[in-house]
Amino acid sequence: MKYGTLKNYIGGEWVASTSSELLDVHNPATDEVIARVPLSTPDEVNRAVAAAKEAFQEWRETPAVVRARYMFRLKALMEEHFEDLARTVTTEHGKILDEARGEVRRAIENVEVAAGIPSLMMGYNAEDVAAGIDEECVLQPVGVFCCIAPFNFPAMVPFWFMPYAIACGNTYIVKPSEVCPISQNRIFELLDEAEFPPGVINLVNGAKGVVDALLAHPDVAGVSFVGSTPVGKYIYATAAANGKRAQCQAGAKNALVVMPDAALDSTVAAILTSAFGTAGQRCLAGALVLAVGDIYEPLKARLVEAAARIKVGDGLDESVQMGPVVSRRALERVLGYIEKGLQEGAALLLDGRQVQVAGNPNGYFIGPTIFDRVRPEMTIAQDEIFGPVLGIIPVADFDEALAIIEAIPYGNAASLFTSSGKWAREFKYRVRCGNIGINIGIAAPIATFPFAGMKQSFFGDLHGQGRDAIQFFTDRKVVITRWF
């Protein structure tokens, strides 16, 4: 086992979990067991919260410029270990190295932005709000925060939150995905090397038991979550019931609208990356192509032709363009949706079920799959499949496309491909989704912008990354002053 049994990181120490419950972590390209992750106990959560609480006062009193220097140190360590981190992501998740590198890059980018905390955390003031009276607003850290992370971006997603939380002077607990926990464990080795004061950052491995213990703990001030909609709702409701602030990024069913005036070559390339990149396991993945008018036939033909050429295999092989899905369970789930699509009458133009990867007979591979004649009411048009399955829906015009998007309960992302500024403007103005792409298949906000989301894709008000994160991880205190 390459990575052994993972440990928790509590109060600046690596600690073996006392839990007798362990899960195997698999390399999805080979099915090999590469690590074991403990399902930590509520007692271990309590210890992590206690360590974070104890560290809070001294950390919040640490000047912001000094906290920023820890960020610079962390960035330097992540740059130094960049390739190793990317390879770890690929090994535990399956995505190809380019995608893993992109993920680690975005994680570092968030550290870079959080390093601006001396400016980001500045308050504001006004003189003479009444005669001789001044007023100021200061931003203060809140306490202990935690993150419940998903499997699909095991290195990056905690970095939408953690760097901002600790840069603001809070202390933090990460609960990585139990399916892909290794990247965060590796990153915590770097955090340890950066010598953050004990208790400022903590890692507790586990599953629902850890989540529930964190949500119930009175000393946890807030929670950041990324995952499915049912779990997001549960976490948001439980956090609110326990008086915590919460930001819960949830499921998605993203549509890509292609207008007749779209630049076909570039559009096809962008759609393929969107639908099949990370084997369709991005929350920003394009799942439905809404082909407007005459573009439908040529677009369909080009998509199928190009998707059939995508090389599927082990993401560590750099000639590969699409890796496996994350687990056998995920594979079976995706296969089930393909079956469902057939039963409901969609036309299977490209069948990824028969894909063979030489030398990797046990990997969780499924090739690019394209359904045509999908109707909005079909299960494959409504459910988040989270696999490399793309549905094509021909539509008569722009308004019909927008009506279909509006009827989708999720509002994570939507893209438009067009050469018309008018349509682009209409689209970004009218569509109720958080992340909009204009001639972009993956509308992934950089670290200075919030990772948005609307409708059933987000529960909360302040998002991860950028200024939203600073707001989420601080309290505003208003001071009104008069001197006699």
Binding site: E79, F82, E83, I96, L97, D98, E99, R101, G102, E103, R105, R106, A269, A270, L272, T273, G277, A306, I310, K311, E318, S319, V320, Q321, G437, I440, G441, I442, A443, A444
Partner: protein, 135 residues
């Protein structure tokens, strides 16, 4: 091998520079320029490593078409005569320059495309210098 991803292109570029550095090191002392060219190849390796780390952009990881590594490979024999070594080196530099120009035209990331243009220019200059020496 088809170079269909950003990573595959960067890896091939790095292999080219590694191969160049190894060739010039093995033939060191035979042609006056070789030590300088070896150092230049090693410096380029570091620049490429940095580009691979910093040049990836999540929203534009689109597939790349029309590049095949076979088009840019050259046969090298560091045990050959000085005249042959110069000719081999020139062919190597010309192939590398061609690769960087072709790849730059296809890379969707402007900073990396710019770096590739600069590297192409460096290889072209080296090929020219080797040609002048031969002449």
């Amino acid at each position: 091998m088809e170079l269909g991803t950003f990573g595959a292109i960067l890896r091939f570029a790095m292999q080219l520079e590694e191969q160049s550095a190894a060739f010039y090191a093995a033939a060191s002392g035979t042609v006056s320029l070789f030590d300088e060219l070896e150092q230049a190849a090693r410096k380029r390796l570091a620049r490429l490593e940095q580009a691979r780390r910093e040049g990836v952009a999540e929203m534009i990881l689109e597939s790349i078409t029309g590049l095949d590594s076979e088009t840019y490979t050259t046969t090298l024999d560091p045990q050959a005569s000085a005249a042959s070594l110069r000719a081999q080196a020139r062919a190597l530099e010309e192939a590398a320059a061609r690769f960087y120009r072709d790849a730059a035209a296809r890379l969707p990331i402007r900073e990396v495309a710019r770096l590739f243009q600069r590297l192409a220019q460096e290889h072209e200059t080296a090929a020219q210098q080797l040609g002048e020496e031969t002449g």
